[in-house]
Amino acid sequence: MSLAILTYILGGLTFGSALMVVLAPHPVRSVLYLILTFFFISGNYILLNAQFVAVVNIIVYAGAIMVLFLFVLMLLNLSKENEPKTKNVAKFAAVVASGILAVVLIAATKDTMILQSGYQTSDNAQGLVEGLGQLLFTKYVLPFEISSVLFLSAMVGAVLLAKREKQITNEL
C-alpha cells in the first residue's frame, strides 16, 4: 500500500535528519537540520490527518523558535577554532546523563505493541481545528489554562531579568 510506503520513507527521513542534527560539524548546520526535522514531523502529522497541528508545529517551531536559535548562533559565530573548551568531568557527566536517558527511553518503548499496521486516516477529525478546539476547551481545559499560566510566568521572568540588568547599570 502506498500510504504505508510513504510512512516508512517519511519516518526514515525524519530519523536521518534528526541524526544529522547531532552529527553535523557546524552548529548552524545542526539548526538547519533541526528545522528540516520539524518539517518531516509535520509531514507525519499530515499523514495522521492532523493538519492544524502540522501547520502550528511549523509556525511555532520552525518559524519562530528556530529563527531565534539561528539568530543566536549567527551572532555567536561558533566554529571549531574558537569552540569553548569543556572539562573532562563535564564530558563524562554528559555521557552518563545521555546514557541514562537512553535507558529510560528503551525501557519505555520496549513493551509497546503495534496495534495496527500503518496509519489510520479515515474519519479521524481529532487533529482538525474543530475537534482539537472542542477537546481543548472541554476535556483538557485545566491543563490548557495551566500551561498558559506557565508561559505567562516565563514571560514575567524574562522581563524581570531584563529590568534588573538595567537597574544595575543605572546605579553604576
Binding site: 493538519q51 492544524f52 520552525a62 539561528l70
Partner: protein, 345 residues
C-alpha cells in the same frame, strides 16, 4: 482520484505559477514607472514602446552575468538561500481563492488550487519560514553587512508576525473559519459589499503595516538598507541569485496584496455582483479581485516612494509597543461584541 480533477488542478497550478511570475516581472517595470511618476521623471522608455520590454532586458542582463560565489562563503547554503526565498514566495499562491467557481465541460471548476481548512494558517506558516532564505543567504555570504541584514530581517519578521497573527485571528473570529474561501464568501454581505474592512478598520491598518514589514518594503526595508549596509543580506550576491532575491520580494508583494484583498476587501466580491451568475460572474469576480490586488500593489509602491525609512529602534517600538497592544485591544473588543451578539450578557 478522477482524472479530470488532476488535469484541472495541474492546469490551475501552471496558470497561477505563470501569472505570478509574469506579474512579478512586470511589477519591476511598474515600480520604476511609479517611482518616476512620483518624482516627476519619465522612467524607463528605451526598450520597446513606453519601455515595455525593460523587464526582459533586465532579466537578460541578470542571466548573462557571471555566477560568482565568494571564496569564504558557505557554498551550498549560499546557493540554498535565494532558492528558499523564491520557493516560499511561490508557495502561498496555492491557497488563495482567485475567483468564483467556473462551469465548464460539465463540471464546476474551483479557481483555488487547494481549499485546505487551515488556509490562512498555511499562509502564516509559509511566511514564517520565508525569512530563512534571507537568514541563510546573509549568513552564508560570510560578510558582516550581510550578517547584519540577516539579523535585522529575522528580528523584524518575528516582531511583526505577532501583530499580524493577532489581526488574522480577529478576522477568523468574525468568520468562524480558517479557510480562505469561507472568509471571502463570508464577506458577500447584502450586495457584495460586506467587506471586513468596514467592520475592522483598525485590524486592517495593523495588518497592512505588518504586511509592509513582512515583505521588507520601505519604510521597513532595514535588512537591505543601502545607506548603512551596502545591500544588506544580498551584498555578496550577483547574477540570477540576486535576481531571485529581488524577484521573491516582488512575488511577496503580489501575494500580500492578494491576501489583503481577500481578507479585508472581499476578495472576488464586488458591489452589484448578484446581477450576474455563472461564468460571467466568475470572470468579473476574478477581474475585480485582480483590480483590488493591483490597487494594493500601487499603494505599496506609493508608500515606498513617499515615506523615509524607519530607524531600527523606531521599528521595534512600533512593532512591540504600538501594533501588538492595539491589535490585542481590538481582538478583545471584537470578542466582546461577538459574545454580545450571541446573547451572552
Amino acid at each position: 482520484m478522477d482524472t479530470g480533477l488532476i488535469i484541472e488542478k495541474s492546469l490551475l497550478v501552471l496558470a497561477v505559477f505563470g501569472i505570478t511570475l509574469l506579474i512579478a516581472t512586470y511589477l519591476t517595470y511598474f515600480e520604476r514607472k511609479v517611482a518616476a511618476w512620483l518624482q516627476d521623471r519619465i522612467g524607463p522608455d528605451r526598450a520597446g514602446p513606453f519601455g515595455i520590454l525593460q523587464p526582459l532586458a533586465d532579466a537578460g542582463k541578470m542571466f548573462f552575468k557571471e555566477d560568482f560565489i565568494p571564496r569564504n562563503a558557505d557554498k551550498w547554503l549560499f546557493i540554498l538561500g535565494p532558492g528558499i526565498a523564491m520557493f516560499t514566495a511561490l508557495m502561498t499562491g496555492a491557497v488563495i481563492p482567485w475567483g468564483p467557481n467556473i462551469e465548464a465541460f460539465g463540471r464546476s471548476i474551483s479557481l483555488q488550487i487547494a481549499d485546505i481548512n487551515i488556509g490562512i494558517l498555511f499562509i502564516m506558516g509559509v511566511l514564517s519560514i520565508g525569512v530563512y532564505g534571507i537568514m541563510i543567504g546573509g549568513w552564508a555570504s560570510n560578510n558582516k553587512y550581510s550578517l547584519f541584514g540577516a539579523i535585522r530581517a529575522s528580528s523584524q519578521m518575528i516582531s511583526y508576525e505577532l501583530a499580524m497573527g493577532i489581526s488574522v485571528i480577529t478576522i477568523v473570529m468574525m468568520t468562524g473559519s480558517l479557510s480562505l474561501r469561507d472568509i471571502v464568501d463570508g464577506q458577500h454581505g447584502s450586495f457584495g459589499m460586506g467587506w471586513n474592512v468596514f467592520y475592522q478598520p483598525v485590524c486592517f491598518l495593523v495588518f497592512f503595516i505588518t504586511a509592509l514589514a513582512e515583505t521588507n518594503r520601505a519604510p521597513f526595508d532595514l535588512p537591505e538598507c543601502e545607506s548603512e549596509l551596502i545591500g544588506g543580506y544580498h551584498t555578496e550576491y550577483g547574477s540570477m541569485k540576486l535576481g531571485f532575491f529581488l524577484f521573491a520580494e516582488y512575488i511577496n508583494m503580489f501575494i500580500s496584496s492578494a491576501v489583503i484583498a481577500a481578507l479585508f476587501f472581499g476578495g472576488y466580491n464586488f458591489p452589484g455582483m448578484d446581477a450576474f451568475s455563472g461564468n460571467t460572474l466568475a470572470i468579473l469576480g476574478t477581474l475585480a479581485f485582480f483590480g483590488k490586488i493591483v490597487f494594493f500593489i500601487f499603494v505599496f509602491m506609493w508608500i515606498r516612494w513617499t515615506l523615509p525609512r524607519f530607524r531600527f529602534d523606531q521599528l521595534m517600538h512600533l512593532g512591540w509597543k504600538s501594533l501588538i497592544p492595539i491589535s490585542l485591544i481590538n481582538l478583545l473588543i471584537t470578542g466582546l461584541v461577538i459574545a454580545f451578539n450571541e446573547g451572552w450578557f
